[in-house]
Point group: C2
Chain length 217, copies 2
């Protein structure tokens, strides 16, 4: 009986923690990532500032929870990219590898532009003084590994493939967010960028229609 009570308490606590993190995202989107205050944050969830400290030991712990949640969302979101590629695969004149590369590019771009503040926290790392905990940072490493696996499954062995494509994709995203928010000036270039990348990394995947790039499905 005592165990059940403890579990219910823990559950309730986790719910409130999640509520606080959600409110922190809202505030960050409204006023900027660095402009979150414990007062405002508390007010958003119907508390005063000191009560927030019952759930997070410091402001940095809240940023860390945001960082962690952001990468969890990223991992989940990118895992679905293969499905996109399957859908796009039916198009004429496009190899399975190109369809997959394009789908990947659009997936990544959509995730980033959907929430520029999240993009800033996860990929730009311009929040002064903040360093993610080892536990949260491990998620960022796993995201990178997931990208490497994706390339391996496509048959791309070039060791620079991941670094070159993250650079190009984050670059397109950054430019879109900073210089044409809400527009499509750089989004338009995604298909072309994906093709350029594939031509550089594995040109045979651009012509050979029977290459086993969908091994994972």
């Amino acid at each position: 009986m005592t165990e059940t009570v403890v579990d219910r308490r823990t559950l309730r606590r986790e719910e409130t923690r999640a509520e606080i993190v959600a409110a922190a995202w809202d505030l960050a989107r409204e006023h900027g990532l660095a402009a979150i205050s414990m007062r405002d944050l508390g007010a958003r969830v119907g508390m005063r500032a000191p009560s927030v400290y019952t759930y997070f030991e410091s402001k940095d712990a809240i940023y860390d929870a945001m960082f962690r949640q952001g990468y969890e969302q990223f991992l989940e979101w990118m895992a679905d990219a293969a499905a996109d590629a399957r859908d796009a695969d039916a198009r004429v004149g496009v190899t399975p590898a190109l369809a997959r590369a394009r789908a990947h590019a659009h997936r990544f771009f959509a995730f980033c532009t959907a929430d520029p503040v999240r993009y800033q926290l996860l990929f730009l790392r311009t929040l002064p003084g903040f360093e993610p905990s080892a536990q949260s940072y491990a998620l960022a490493v796993r995201a990178l590994e997931q990208g490497a696996d994706e390339y391996a499954a496509m048959g791309i062995t070039d060791p620079d493939a991941l670094d070159l494509s993250t650079a190009l994709l984050t670059g397109l995203t950054s430019q879109q967010i900073a210089n044409d928010p809400g527009g499509d000036r750089w989004e338009r270039l995604l298909d072309r960028a994906a093709e350029m990348l594939l031509r550089e990394l594995a040109p045979d995947l651009l012509t050979d229609r029977d290459h086993p790039t969908m091994r994972r499905t």
Copy 2:
């Protein structure tokens, strides 16, 4: 006689303004762009906070002066890229266009990684609430036009050339600054990236050694 006195005063004033802006850069590099305070800034130049307001009407005016100075430095720095290309041109197996594209990439990369805080202010625009004045923003526009002229001089007419290359170059730079500061993990990829870009935008410039790409020199 009166005129001379006025000129000396104006000159002295401009010197102090420059001193304050230099101190602001120092503070930004040490504690982050958003963490500049008027008190600290004054202390750096041997003043109290209120005296700084004699030279700049607000904190935003100081950010604007930094933004402006950063783009002035950028314009000057990139104008010298043609000289780099001339030096690199002697290399075997490289067309003048490729030498030029590579030199441009390295120039841009060096400018950005030399001062990540400046890069953040000029290209990332993540300083919450800050908008450059029309006068300062005009410099940013001119920088972009200078890039467009560079491509035109190389004979590249593709209208997406500039957007695609700024995306790739800022991407490589961002990744280097955020994920491997002081290292060369993305710097190593610059030559390859420049070649990939040129192959996409004007493949003939990669093979035709007699193309008039050095028209400007």
